[in-house]
């Protein structure tokens, strides 16, 4: 099966289908994940999260377009966007409070809850 896929790569590249969108979302997801893990700054972590959510939306929309998932994919994407907004708002409010209190936004320095 592997041999079959490699032979058709040039022709595959020509017309972007479902798989291409999935690959882009995969890349976006990994980068978001990378950001969440490696960055010490809380806001960077938030950005990472936003990237991950977008990757997810791309998948939903791609499936609605290419596969059997009807318009519901769009609706889910919509709700994801709504929630992302709410989440970003609250997150930032928290971050500001932390910043106010601890004057730092680095994740590993905020460790008062940990003994």
């Amino acid at each position: 099966m592997m041999a079959f896929c490699i032979a058709q790569i040039p022709q595959w590249l020509a017309e972007p289908g479902l798989q291409h969108f999935l690959i882009i979302s995969a890349i976006l997801f990994s980068l978001g994940l990378l950001a969440v893990i490696t960055r010490r700054n809380v806001i960077m972590v938030l950005m990472g999260i936003e990237l991950i959510l977008n990757a997810a939306n791309i998948n939903f929309i791609a499936f609605t377009r290419y596969s059997t998932l009807s318009l519901e994919g769009h609706l889910i994407a919509l709700f994801v966007i709504i929630l992302a907004a709410a989440e970003a708002a609250i997150a930032l409010a928290i971050v500001l409070n932390i910043y106010q209190r601890f004057s730092t936004v680095n994740v590993d320095e905020i460790s008062t809850l940990r003994e």
Partner: protein, 167 residues
Amino acid sequence: MDLYAIFFYFFGLLTVASAFVVVFARNIVHSAFALMFTFFGVAALYVLLYADFIAVTQLLVYVGGILVLIIFGVMLTTKVFSVEVKTGTLNVLPATLFTAIIAGMLIFVFYVTDWNIIPDQEWDTTVYGIGALLVNDFILPMQVAGVLLLVAMIGAVMMAARERSKS
């Protein structure tokens, strides 16, 4: 290579590149701005996928709302002098390794599985479909989303108010 492919590769590349910048930028302000481009790229992809209403919402909410919030966040928390803008990283090596493996896995899976592709169909605007679904099948999530947003707002306001009383 029809037009569709060209647009796809262009916007795809845009999104991925800006995502790279977001992640690997030393300066947090640069990554914030790079984020904007990422959102635009994504919205473009939605258009390519005939999801017009979602593309617009994307633009409105993400670029208009969330991005602005993040930038506020950045600006408020990075005193140009005390907190150096450069953000540090921790245990980078294992994280990048694992993320690369995850990406490889996902790409491999997406590439290998033969999806259930349905033949093309005529796409026209999806707004009416979305609207009908919203008020018929998804009426409960709609309301809950509404309540949620309200709660989020009150929460944000509460935290902000407490800030002033303390300082």
